[in-house]
């Protein structure tokens, strides 16, 4: 057990965090899966409209990695298989039937899991698609089953705004969480690290007392909860190293799969943000693929709202007509801020939040909380201020120079400056603070893609 104290970063004082209550979401009539949400997998369908499927029937597989199959989270009939541009599989819609018929999968007793072989665990993860709950660093891809990760990091803390707390998602699934951890030990010859929030006496024993993992506590502001930060301070990635990461909320699903011998019928997502009505911001137990319309019905504030899957710093905007994706564990709703204000460049700044000290609010309203909207607060400009980004990156990384190296397509330099240790999400906070309104997340994403394409 070790405590890491992170100093750099910022917790934006926001209104809209979900209350730690898990409520049951509405039962959806139809669910939609998006096979194309995993980049580079080339999904191919194994069902056609009209087919009857059980919970656990295979729906599609990956052409790139044929052992990787994805299964239905519900029993019913296939309503639609939609192909998009160049006949890429876009979505599969399933009409859920009342009868919950289950496709049986291998089932393990809790004590048995730690003794499983790497092959057995990998086979199950591939066969259910749950391997995609893990991410391979660098590049944050679906893991390559042939790769031997030097360690596996379990992220049971997320410091980004409105994200599910591990303590809440593990509640009721304590055994599943431990089962997931046990299974991970088989996948690596190195260690399994469990990263927990420091200074939290309310942490459930299932987390603080977890076995078969080395526990590390991280204290400090966001991004102290990002996996990149954990990796950097515990077992940093060198070129050609491979590390796998997994979020606690997803590890619970893996554990449930192992213990129940069936695809888990539901998962927990956090619903937060200033665009959600008071009292409706909470955790929601729902089925993968549930339409957002049902989930958010009667819960949104008036006015134009933006729905973000993931967190409001690094997540992606999704339409209200879309459905819950495999990788989503949080939905945030933000009001669109198209309102214009008089001479914003000179006002004292009593009623706006800023990390900079050029606003009155920074000096006199330190305890205030803010309901931020999507206004950009300015127009994009060239990089002017220097050294600002580094205040938000608690790693040995000179962000200004990393960004410049990526912009200049100087891959060698970017790798030397630590590009492989990062994920685009690590720069979302810098981008939030950037007065030039630069697209740092996109820049780093393109940089990582370039390294992946050209090789290290």
């Amino acid at each position: 057990m070790k405590i890491h104290r992170i100093k750099k970063g910022l917790d934006i004082p926001l209104v809209g965090a979900p209350e730690p209550i898990v409520a049951d979401g509405p039962l959806a009539e139809c669910i939609t899966l998006y096979p194309n949400e995993f980049e580079g997998l080339k999904p191919r369908p194994l069902v056609k409209p009209g087919d009857t499927v059980r919970r656990g029937s295979i729906l599609f597989y990956s052409k790139k990695l044929e052992a990787l199959k994805f299964r239905s989270p519900a029993a019913g009939t296939v309503k639609e298989v939609v192909f998009g541009h160049r006949r890429a599989l876009e979505k599969i819609v399933i009409r859920v039937s009342g009868a919950d018929e289950v496709e049986p999968l291998p089932r393990f007793a809790a004590g048995q899991i730690a003794g499983l072989s790497r092959e057995a665990v990998l086979a199950l993860l591939l066969d259910t698609g749950y391997l995609a709950h893990l991410k391979q660093r660098p590049f944050s891809r679906v893991p390559d089953p042939k790769a031997r990760p030097k360690s596996i990091f379990v992220n049971a803390m997320n410091t980004a705004p409105f994200q599910p707390e591990a303590g809440v998602v593990v509640r009721g699934h304590e055994a599943a969480f431990q089962a997931g951890l046990d299974a991970l030990t088989a996948l690596t010859s190195g260690r399994v690290y469990l990263c927990l929030p420091g200074g939290r006496p309310d942490l459930p024993p299932a987390l603080a007392g977890a076995k078969n993992a080395e526990i590390h506590f991280f204290e400090g502001p966001h991004p102290a909860g990002n996996s990149s930060v954990h990796l950097h301070h515990i077992d940093p990635i060198r070129p050609n190293d491979v590390v796998w990461t997994v979020k606690a909320v997803d590890l619970v699903q893996i554990g449930r799969l192992l213990l129940d011998g069936a695809m888990p019928p539901d998962r927990v997502i956090a619903l937060g943000g200033p665009g959600v009505l008071d009292g409706e911001r909470r955790y929601c137990r729902t089925r993968l693929g549930s339409p957002l319309e049902g989930l958010l019905k009667d819960k949104l504030a008036a006015g134009e709202q933006r729905i973000v899957a993931g967190d409001i710093l690094a997540g992606v905007q999704v339409g209200v007509d879309s459905s819950l994706r495999f990788q989503d564990s949080a939905l945030c709703v933000l009001p669109e801020g198209r309102e214009r204000h008089f001479m914003g460049w000179i006002v004292p700044g009593w009623s706006t939040f800023s990390q900079s000290r050029s606003f009155l609010s920074t000096w006199l309203r330190r305890r205030a909380t803010w309901a931020l909207d999507t206004n950009r607060h300015g127009s994009p400009r060239a990089m002017v201020l220097t050294g600002l980004y580094d205040r938000f990156v608690p790693m040995r990384i000179m962000t200004d120079y990393l960004v410049r190296a990526v912009l200049a397509h100087d891959i060698d330099e970017a790798v030397k400056l630590g590009l492989l240790e990062t994920d685009p999400e690590d720069f979302a906070l810098c981008a939030f603070a950037c007065p030039s309104k630069m697209d740092l997340v996109g820049i780093i994403r393109r940089g990582l893609a370039e390294v992946e394409r050209e090789g290290i």
Partner: protein, 402 residues
């Protein structure tokens, strides 16, 4: 606000491509975003953005320059009225006279600089950069109050076009544009920007007050005869430490008062807009190099009395303090790494002292020191980044085998 918004929206179509006023759309955009914050929403992660933008950042530099500007205006009028022995002149007369002298310089600087900025924004089809708000004010403040207005226009044009726009505008320039403009004037028209007679507005040199030569404190210190007690010599010429801190003396418009510069420094550092590392490095560089000169062998110091000057004198004489606070901290032309900022600031302080002490040709070395360090900043950063890369490699190796 609704009324204003409606009015702007009514005018917007006139500036659309193909419409009669499209040529001026950059001006329209600038006015639009000057009056009302843009309605744009974020177009990807992060979905929320901080309220600080470049417009406000630059505005705060301008705000930080206000004490120097106001004091400079007053000082120009005060010097004019005092030296020309204008009868009955008081605070108000000084201020009005100062405005008469300085305001045209500022206006010409903004007009000429703004013209180029707008022209380039229109041709390059980008928004007008706020950087020129700073450059347009910085430049007049480092000029003598007697500068001919046409030189102001020529200088700022050179600084804006050659110093900034040809590189791509704010954010891409190598040199500080205001200093580039001044350096251009300095080498092209030395008569109006050097010597003893340009630093105060004098109508008739025959009728000036007794003993007034127009020389700046720095020029006096440099001209001290061998063997003189330098502090005493300065005092006899009318420059005590107190008067130089106050700044009611001949000099460039905005540079003379250490108090006004300190106010600006506080605004820049407290708001976090200016780099305290550069400023601290600059002051440290000045103090350490002067102190080093102070301990040179005595015969040397007697032959060149300026070597005896304590560092706090050096700091309040000439443009060094103003330069360190407002010119060196221009983030685009300065070093960008934390360690680089210290080195860069320190070099500016030290180099200024070397030039002003040992070079008889340039009275104040700050302008050239900063320009030189602007050029050197990328090299300093490169070295810092190389060291950083080595540290990173060592860290990764240690963590993976420890």
């Amino acid at each position: 606000m609704k009324f204003l918004e409606q009015m702007i929206e009514k005018m917007r179509p006139l500036f659309a491509p193909g419409r009669p006023l499209h040529l001026f759309h950059a001006v329209f955009e600038a006015t639009d975003s000057f009056l009302l914050t843009p309605p744009d929403v974020t177009d990807g992660p992060p979905h929320v953005r901080d309220a600080l933008d470049i417009k406000r950042t630059m505005t705060f530099v301008v705000i930080a320059l206000i004490p120097c500007t106001l004091f400079g205006i007053f000082n120009a009028g005060y010097m004019h009225n005092t030296v020309n022995q204008v009868p009955g002149a008081g605070f108000l007369q000084h201020l009005l006279q100062g405005l008469r002298l300085v305001l045209p310089i500022i206006l010409v600087s903004y007009a000429a600089g703004g013209f180029w900025e707008v022209l380039f924004a229109t041709i390059r089809k980008h928004e007008i950069n706020e950087g020129f708000l700073v450059t347009g004010l910085l430049f007049p403040l480092i000029l003598p109050p007697t500068i001919p207005l046409w030189q102001v226009a020529v200088g700022i044009s050179f600084g804006t076009v050659i110093g900034k726009e040809i590189f791509g505008g704010t954010g891409f320039n190598v040199l500080n544009p205001a200093l580039t403009a001044r350096a251009f004037l300095y080498f092209a028209y030395p008569a109006q920007i050097s010597g003893d007679r340009v630093w105060a507005s004098v109508t008739d040199w025959a009728g000036v007050a007794d003993g007034f030569t127009g020389a700046t404190s720095l020029a006096v210190a440099k001209a001290a005869p061998a063997g003189a007690n330098i502090v005493e010599f300065l005092r006899q010429s009318g420059f005590s430490l107190k008067s130089m801190v106050m700044g009611l003396e001949p000099g460039s418009i905005g540079e003379t008062s250490a108090i006004a510069v300190t106010l600006g420094l506080l605004i820049l550092v407290l708001t976090g807009i200016g780099s305290w590392r550069i400023i601290a490095g600059g002051v440290l560089g000045t103090a350490m190099s002067v102190t080093l000169l102070n301990v040179l062998p005595e015969p040397l110091r007697l032959a060149k009395p300026i070597l005896q000057l304590p560092f706090y004198y050096d700091l309040v004489m000439g443009g060094i303090f103003f330069g360190i606070v407002f010119m060196a901290t221009d983030p685009v032309s300065a070093a960008a790494t934390p360690a680089g900022k210290w080195i860069y600031g320190f070099s500016i302080g030290a180099l200024t002292i070397v030039i002003r002490t040992f070079n008889p040709a340039y009275p104040a070395g700050n302008m050239l020191a900063i320009l030189f360090c602007n050029v050197m900043a990328p090299l300093v950063d490169h070295m810092v980044v190389q060291v950083h890369i080595r540290h990173r490699a060592r860290y990764l190796a240690r963590m993976n085998h420890g």
